[in-house]
C-alpha cells in the first residue's frame, strides 16, 4: 500500500533528538507563540500540582492517625471558598484570552498570502500551486512567505496537521476551509492526517519541504507545471461553456464575474453575501442556492460534473478576475478579463 516508502521517507527527517525527542521542532511564526503559552501552562500546572500534592502529603503525614489525637471538626470557610473560586477563574480567563489571541491569529490568513489549493482524499494529499505545479503528499514552500491553504476533501473528513508549524485544520467534504502558516526554518516536516479517515488513516502522511527562497525558485523552475492554476481554470471555464452567459464586456444572461470575488453580492431575496471561495463553489455546484438579484435561475447544476481539482481551478480563475490586493502573489501571466478575446457563440 505504498506505506513503507512513506515511513522510510519520514526516517530521513532531521531532528535534534533523532531517537528520543521531547519537544517538536519550531518551524513557523505561530510555533514560537504557542510554545510560549505551553511553557506558561506547564509552569502554572507545575506550581499548582506542587502546591496541591505537597499540601496533601504534608496533611497526610502530619495528621496521620495516632493514639490520643482526635480530628478537629471544621465546617468550612466562605472566604476560602470565594478565594479559590475567584482566583482560579481569573487565571483561567488569562489563559482563555491568550489562547483566543493565538487562535484568532491562526484563523485569519494575512491578505497577501500565496494560495495553495489542497484536496484531501483517502489516503493522500494533493496540492495545486498558483503557478501550476502539482504535488502529491509533498508540499514545497519557501521560508518567510505567508502561505494560505484552501482545503477541501473529496470523501470523508480529514485533518491537515503539521506539528512543526503547530497548525491543524479539519478538511471537510463539500466546502472550503482555510489554514495558513509562515515557515521560518528550512527543513522537511511531517504532514499528518489527524482526523480518523479509514483504513490507511495512519498512512495518510506527507511532508512539507521548507526551502530557502532561492532554492524554492530553483524548485519552481525545474518542476513540471501545467500553466498557472487560474489559466487552467480559464480553459475549464471555456470548456464548460460558462462564457456563454458569464460575459465580460457586455451583460450576459448570467452576472459578470469581474471583481466579484471578495465583494458583496446582493441576492434575489435581498440578502447580501460576500463572494468568498465557498460562495463561488456553491454557485458552480448548486447555482440555485443563491441567485444574484436581477438574474434568473437558468444555470445548470455542475454537481458531479467537475471534480475537486477542476473546481479549485475554476475558483482560482474567478478570483483572478478581481483586482488582486496589493502585494499579492497573484498571477501576472493572466490576461486581464476586460480584454478577453474570444467568446464562443451561443
Amino acid at each position: 500500500m505504498g506505506l513503507t516508502p512513506n515511513i522510510e521517507r519520514l526516517r530521513g527527517s532531521k531532528n535534534m533528538f533523532e531517537t528520543f525527542p521531547l519537544w517538536p521542532v519550531q518551524a513557523s511564526t505561530i510555533a514560537g507563540q504557542l510554545d510560549l503559552l505551553y511553557v506558561f501552562l506547564l509552569l502554572l500546572s507545575l506550581v499548582t500540582c506542587t502546591a496541591i500534592f505537597t499540601t496533601i502529603t504534608v496533611f497526610a503525614i502530619k495528621y496521620r492517625r495516632r493514639h490520643g489525637r482526635e480530628a478537629e471538626q471544621i465546617h468550612g470557610s466562605i472566604i476560602l471558598e470565594i478565594a479559590w473560586s475567584v482566583i482560579p477563574l481569573g487565571i483561567f480567563l488569562v489563559i482563555f484570552a491568550w489562547g483566543a489571541i493565538i487562535y484568532f491569529h491562526e484563523r485569519t490568513p494575512p491578505r497577501d498570502s500565496t494560495e495553495i489549493y489542497t484536496v484531501a482524499k483517502q489516503w493522500m494529499w494533493k496540492f495545486q500551486h498558483p503557478e501550476g505545479q502539482r504535488e502529491i503528499n509533498e508540499l514545497h514552500v519557501p521560508v518567510g512567505r505567508d502561505v494560505k491553504l484552501i482545503l477541501t476533501s473529496q470523501d470523508v473528513i480529514h485533518s491537515f496537521y503539521v506539528p512543526a508549524f503547530r497548525i491543524k485544520q479539519d478538511v471537510l467534504p463539500g466546502r472550503y476551509v482555510t489554514a495558513w502558516f509562515r515557515a521560518t526554518k528550512p527543513g522537511t516536516y511531517h504532514l499528518f492526517c489527524a482526523e480518523y479517515c479509514g483504513t490507511m488513516h495512519s498512512g495518510m502522511l506527507g511532508q512539507i519541504v521548507v526551502m530557502d527562497p532561492s532554492d524554492y525558485q530553483t524548485w519552481l523552475a525545474t518542476s513540471r507545471t501545467f500553466g498557472s492554476l487560474a489559466a487552467a481554470g480559464q480553459s475549464q471555464f471555456e470548456q464548460l461553456g460558462c462564457p456563454t452567459c458569464h460575459r465580460f464586456e457586455t451583460q450576459g444572461r448570467g452576472p459578470t464575474l469581474n471583481g466579484v470575488y471578495g465583494n458583496p453580492v446582493t441576492l434575489e431575496d435581498g440578502r447580501t453575501v460576500i463572494a468568498d471561495e465557498n460562495y463561488i463553489r456553491e454557485s458552480v455546484l448548486n447555482p440555485g442556492a443563491k441567485i444574484v438579484s436581477g438574474f434568473k435561475n437558468i444555470m445548470p447544476v455542475f454537481q458531479g460534473l467537475v471534480d475537486e481539482e477542476q473546481m479549485n481551478e475554476l475558483v482560482a480563475y474567478v478570483k483572478s478576475l478581481s483586482v488582486p490586493p496589493a502585494g499579492s502573489a497573484g498571477n501576472p501571466t493572466l490576461i486581464p478579463p476586460g480584454t478577453q478575446p474570444q467568446h464562443p457563440k451561443e
Binding site: 448548486n286 447555482p287 440555485g288 441567485i291 434568473k296 435561475n297 447544476v301
Partner: protein, 234 residues
C-alpha cells in the same frame, strides 16, 4: 416478615417500598413528568436539524411543505385534540369513580388514536405514490417543475432532506402513538376490571399525561411541517 402480612396492612395497590398511597402517587406522576422531559430532548435533536436545514434550504422546505396534504394534517390535528379531550374527561371519570364512563372514554380515545394513524397512513401512502419517500426511489422532479413555475430553484437532494425530516418526525410521533395505544389498551382492560377507584387511579393519570404530551408534539409538528409556506407565490 411475610408478604401476606404486608398485604393485610396495606391497600393492595400500594407497593411494598412506599410508605403510603400519597407517596406512591406523587412518585409515579413525577416519574412520568421527568420522562416527558427526556422526550422533549429526544425530539429536540431533530428540531435542531430541522431548524438548520430549513434556514439553508428554505425553498425546498416550502415546496415540500406545500406538497403534503394540509387537509389531512388539519383533520389529524383535530382528531388528536378530540382525543385529548376524551382523555381529560376520562381522568375526570376516574377521579369520580365512574367506571363505565371511564371505559367508554378510553375506548373513544383509542378510536381517535387509530383514526389518526389511519389518516397518517393515507398521507404517507400519497407520499409513497409521489415518490417522495427518501431512499433509492426518491424523486422530486414534480417539485422541481412546480418550482420552475414560480421561478424557484429546487434541488432534489435538499428536498429529500425535508422529506427525511418529515418522515422521521411524523414516524417517531406515530411510534409514540402506537405505544400510547398499547398503554391505553392495558388501561382500558384494568378500568373495565374495575381496578381504578377515586382513591387509586394513578395509571390513568400518568397514561393521560403521556397522551397529552404526544398531542403537544403534534401541535408543533403541524405548523412546522405543514404550514411553512402556504401563501400564494407572487
Amino acid at each position: 416478615m411475610s408478604d401476606s402480612l404486608i398485604a393485610l396492612e396495606h391497600p393492595t395497590e400500594l407497593q411494598h417500598h412506599f410508605a403510603d398511597m400519597e407517596q406512591q402517587k406523587s412518585t409515579s406522576t413525577f416519574g412520568m413528568w421527568l420522562f416527558l422531559g427526556t422526550e422533549i430532548m429526544f425530539f429536540g435533536g431533530m428540531f435542531a436539524a430541522y431548524l438548520i436545514y430549513r434556514r439553508w434550504y428554505y425553498n425546498e422546505f416550502a415546496l415540500g411543505s406545500r406538497s403534503i396534504n394540509i387537509w389531512l394534517g388539519t383533520i389529524n390535528t383535530m382528531v388528536l385534540i378530540c382525543s385529548s379531550l376524551t382523555v381529560a374527561l376520562g381522568v375526570r371519570a376516574a377521579q369520580m369513580g365512574k367506571r363505565k364512563l371511564l371505559v367508554t372514554l378510553l375506548l373513544i380515545t383509542m378510536v381517535f388514536g387509530v383514526a389518526f394513524l389511519g389518516i397518517k397512513g393515507v398521507e404517507w401512502y400519497q407520499k409513497y405514490e409521489e415518490h417522495h419517500v427518501p431512499g433509492s426511489s426518491f424523486n422530486a422532479s414534480d417539485l422541481v417543475s412546480v418550482g420552475q413555475k414560480y421561478g424557484v430553484h429546487i434541488n432534489q437532494a435538499h428536498s429529500q432532506i425535508y422529506f427525511s425530516l418529515y418522515f422521521a418526525l411524523t414516524g417517531l410521533h406515530a411510534l409514540h402513538m402506537v405505544v400510547g395505544l398499547g398503554i391505553f389498551t392495558v388501561l382500558t382492560y384494568f378500568a373495565w376490571k374495575g381496578k381504578y377507584t377515586p382513591e387509586y387511579h394513578t395509571p390513568i393519570e400518568i397514561g393521560g399525561l403521556y397522551w397529552h404530551f404526544v398531542d403537544i408534539v403534534w401541535i408543533y409538528l403541524f405548523p412546522l411541517l405543514y404550514l411553512i409556506d402556504r401563501k400564494p407565490f407572487h
